[in-house]
């Protein structure tokens, strides 16, 4: 695709609800990243995939957060039993290879937990 595409753009979830956020990276991009951006803050790293392999998930804040990329293209970030502190913009990014290449961001999924 022309750019990194994310859906839904906006999601309001009731506390305790499960949510799934989708990322469609730029075609052919090997690396895929998820970042969490709270209001007024810079993005914070959550997890990283190289093709279908999740090589780094050290930024996931709790075991309620789970990400997958089963076929090495589309990725899903799932948040179980959402809590208010999960409210943030979830940014997906991709790059052609690992390291030293421009990393392109999607427009984000804005999650509000009420």
């Amino acid at each position: 695709g022309a750019g990194v595409s994310q859906s839904p753009r906006y999601k309001v979830a009731k506390r305790g609800q499960d949510v799934a956020l989708r990322c469609d990276p730029i075609s052919g991009h090997v690396s895929l990243f998820w970042y969490q951006q709270a209001l007024g803050q810079g993005p914070e790293f959550l997890t990283y995939f190289q093709n279908e392999a999740q090589l780094d998930k050290s930024g996931l804040p709790s075991d309620r957060f789970f990400a997958e990329r089963p076929e090495g293209s589309v990725s899903t970030l799932k948040i179980q039993r959402t809590q208010q502190e999960d409210s943030a913009v979830y940014l997906c990014a991709s790059s052609f290879t690992t390291g030293g290449n421009t990393i392109y961001f999607g427009e984000g999924s804005w999650l509000t937990v009420v």
Binding site: G3, V4, S31, F33, Y35, G40, Q41, G42, P43, E44, F45, Y48, Q50, L55, D56, G59, L91, T98, G99, G100, T102, I103, Y104, F105, G106, E107, G108
Partner: protein, 113 residues
């Protein structure tokens, strides 16, 4: 732990002014420093810097990296209202498992007509 600090956190100027945004960092296994512009949507790529002392330019924007003093600056000359945005600085670390970006908090730039 990798760390990126940006200053100032916010800045209000008039059209035509020149601004300098600062970014200092501490990172293990530095690979590159990147600047992004964010206007309530996706951060858009501005510059990637890997070598000290080499200025990168794009129109009215320019940036330079000092790897000895561990900082970078982003200059915007003859600012326009369309430059109003959050400017994010990020450092990329060389990781055995790939790479990750560590971002600063951003500088909120407001350019008034």
């Amino acid at each position: 732990e990798d760390k990126v600090v940006q200053s100032p956190l916010s800045l209000v100027v008039h059209e035509g002014d020149t601004v300098t945004l600062n970014c200092s960092y501490e990172v293990t296994n530095f690979r590159s420093l990147l600047w992004y512009k964010q206007e309530k949507k996706a951060p858009t790529f501005l510059f990637m810097l890997t070598s000290s002392g080499i200025e990168k330019k794009s129109g009215r924007l320019s940036s330079i990296l000092d790897k000895k003093e561990l900082f970078s600056i982003l200059n915007i000359t003859a600012t326009q209202t369309g430059d109003s945005a959050v400017y994010l600085c990020a450092v990329e670390a060389r990781e055995t498992s790939g790479s990750r970006l560590t971002f600063g908090e951003g500088t909120q730039l407001t350019v008034n007509p």
